[in-house]
């Protein structure tokens, strides 16, 4: 039980990557997930996350039934307390648009996370594996990553939006790509602790090709840190997608979207607070939920040393 390292796992840009100790074998993902959800914290996180996901998935169907308005219907004059949550800046029903607005954030955040994790895992494993050969590939990958790491993620996204204009695909790509070097650092460090193991050396001796060694020997043994990264990147992706829409540079009107809804209604926060509060609370609950699961995963993954179950 290494209680001291567990909390550093979840910290962005932890400087001391040496915390990933040598000879650490990580448990199979199924076992890790099962043990993670034995923790109360992970279960609370899962409930919070599922509530918001359910709202996002069912909301578009339930909204019109509950309120009697379609997403783009005008319900009355702007910023009036009509209906359950009032009307928005154009006089549309706030509750209907809130229920309809969870889709883009979830979809874009998931896609960006997938790009970041897959790209980062591949780059990190290649770098870590070639480090042991002393080849240039390691240096090339990691230095290339350093350039992307010289921008705050949001600022790089803003640069891309300024040049190419905002679109869903661009948001997903730019947020996903900026995740890659961050994930790659973790994947490389985990790979380094695996490549020296006998089973990898044996596979190399038999002349197993690199891609097969990485896929069948290395990848299954670094799933612990990768799962933690997955949770962390998902939490950040939700934040970035929502932030960009909040800035008016992400999802564009007239789409229903939580970040955009906050942007549209914040001028009337005093007289019609629900147009801002509902999406803010949904994003808050969602990110808190995913972060609680991630933190539990990190603790469980850090505790898992020695033989894999």
């Amino acid at each position: 039980m290494s209680a001291s390292t567990e909390n550093t796992e979840n910290t962005e840009h932890t400087g001391n990557t040496e915390n990933v100790t040598e000879n650490t074998a990580y448990a199979a993902p199924a076992g890790l997930i099962r043990r993670t959800f034995r923790r109360r914290q992970a279960r609370i996180g899962a409930v919070l996350t599922l509530v918001v996901v359910a709202v996002a998935l069912l909301g578009p169907l339930l909204g019109p039934v509950l309120t009697g308005y379609a997403v783009d219907d005008f319900a009355g004059r702007p910023f009036r307390p009509d209906g359950l949550a009032g009307t928005d800046d154009l006089g549309r029903d706030v509750l209907t648009r809130f229920l309809a607005g969870g889709g883009p954030v979830l979809l874009y955040a998931l896609a960006a996370t997938a790009i970041g994790i897959i790209g980062g895992a591949v780059a990190g494993m290649l770098a870590g594996y070639s480090h042991s050969d002393g080849s240039r590939l390691d240096t090339l990958i990691m230095r290339g990553g350093d350039v992307l790491l010289s921008f705050p993620q949001l600022v790089l996204a803003l640069l891309a939006v300024a040049v190419l204009g905002s679109s869903g695909l661009l948001l997903v790509l730019v947020i996903g790509i900026t995740h890659i070097p961050r994930v790659a650092r973790v994947a490389r460090q985990a790979t380094l602790s695996v490549v020296g193991q006998d089973y990898v050396l044996a596979a190399r001796m038999y002349g197993v090709p690199r891609r097969r060694i990485l896929a069948t020997e290395v990848l299954p043994n670094i799933t612990g840190p990768l799962m933690v990264e997955l949770g962390l990147r998902l939490t950040y992706s939700i934040g970035y997608v929502a932030s960009l829409s909040f800035l008016g540079l992400g999802v564009q009107p007239p789409a229903a979207d939580w970040g955009l809804q906050i942007n549209e209604n914040r001028i009337a926060l005093i007289i019609a607070p629900w147009g801002v509060l509902l999406p803010v609370l949904a994003i808050a609950v969602l990110t808190i939920g995913t972060n609680m699961i991630t933190d539990a995963l990190a603790k469980e993954s850090a505790d898992t040393t020695g033989e894999a179950a």
């Binding site: 209680a3 001291s4 390292t5 567990e6 909390n7 550093t8 979840n10 910290t11 962005e12 840009h13 932890t14 400087g15 001391n16 350093d146 350039v147 010289s150 921008f151 705050p152 993620q153 949001l154 600022v155 790089l156 803003l158 640069l159 891309a160 939006v161 300024a162 040049v163 190419l164 204009g165 939490t235 939700i238 934040g239 970035y240 929502a242 932030s243 909040f246 800035l247 008016g248 540079l249 906050i262 914040r266 926060l269 005093i270 607070p273 801002v276 509060l277 803010v280 994003i283 808050a284 990110t287 808190i288 995913t290 972060n291 609680m292 933190d295």
Partner: protein
């Protein structure tokens, strides 16, 4: 300090890497503008512009020259303090950014000065009391705060202190032209608290983790067994061990703040470079976007450099044996 030269070499090497990274960053920022669809001069002037005006601006911006020539003259301009021409304000970028850089810097410095001691103290408190309720309460709060995007924290603070619950603080910054933001200190409160609340959890966690690692280490046990008072054990033996990693985290959080101010300035309509960046992106005022992203990236690289140098200087293994690590 018998061998300073390997240490100096290590730091110089790190410095050289930073310079190279900055150079590539500038290439990337400049290269991005080559992706701009259509004719930049026409984009700036609008569709009604006469061909003569477009031609004149094309020549003024040097768009008829090859890309590498433009890059070199842009880079030369940046290094001599000429950041280009803003299409939106029809004036030099430096004029637009002058006061805004000071305003953003004020926000950063205030946040760092307030959040660092608070976070260090709370992190140390949690480490000393690890395993108790204080510890788990603190880590629970940090976990929640660390999850929230900065604008969510900002909006919740506005609701709490400026609009719906209490009305004691201004929710937006009102700056008359020519009046500096610090002329009304109360409007700095919410932006600074928002940024501080975003940064503090990370520093708490890092301080707690490194300090409890030190407190469980053999050398601290040794000091305790020699009969030293717990206070001396903590301050003389455990705390120095954590200076390197914690200095790094603080520097990294400062670097992070350079990006975080963008959203927070927009939320509070704070007249800094972050808000200027959002405006420029919305107007596709490319030279302003280039200038601000370069400034933020340069700050980011410099602070990370400072973090690494602090790490090198604080690590006795490197300090004494010289360049062994890495």
């Amino acid at each position: 300090m018998t061998s300073t030269s390997p240490l100096t070499r290590l730091i110089l090497k790190r410095l050289l890497v930073s310079v190279l990274v900055l150079l590539v960053v500038s290439l990337l920022i400049f290269g991005a503008t080559l992706l701009l669809p259509g004719d930049p001069a026409r984009a700036i002037l609008g569709q009604q512009a006469t061909p003569e005006r477009v031609a004149a601006l094309t020549e003024q911006l040097g768009l008829d020259r090859p890309a590498w020539e433009r890059y070199l003259s842009w880079l030369g301009g940046v290094l001599t303090g000429d950041l280009g021409f803003s299409a939106a304000t029809q004036g030099p970028v430096t004029e637009l950014l002058g006061g805004r850089i000071a305003a953003s810097a004020l926000l950063l410095v205030l946040t760092a000065v307030i959040s660092t001691p608070v976070a260090l103290a709370l992190g140390a408190w949690a480490a000393v009391r690890r395993g108790t309720r204080t510890d788990s309460a603190l880590s629970g709060i940090s976990l929640v705060l660390a999850a929230l995007p900065e604008f969510v924290i900002g909006v919740l603070l506005v609701v709490l202190f400026a609009t719906s619950v209490f009305q004691i603080l201004p929710s937006v910054t009102i700056a008359r032209p020519g009046e500096p933001v610090w002329a009304r200190p109360d409007q700095l409160v919410l932006p600074v608290i928002t940024l501080a609340l975003v940064v503090i959890p990370y520093v708490i966690r890092m301080t707690r983790a490194t300090l409890s690692e030190a407190l469980d280490a053999g050398f601290v046990e040794m000091a305790r067994l020699k009969g030293m008072p717990e206070r001396t054990v903590l301050l003389r033996h455990a705390v120095p061990h954590t200076i390197g990693p914690v200095a790094q985290v603080i520097a990294m959080q400062l670097a992070w703040l350079a990006g975080g101010v963008v959203v927070v300035e927009f939320l509070f309509r704070y007249p800094g470079i972050g808000q200027a960046l959002i405006d420029a992106v919305a107007n596709r005022d490319v030279q302003v976007v280039q200038a601000i992203t370069l400034i933020i990236a340069a700050f980011y690289v410099l602070v990370n450099l400072a973090a690494d140098v602090a790490g090198i200087l604080a690590d006795p293994r490197i300090r004494t044996s010289g360049g062994v690590a890495q």
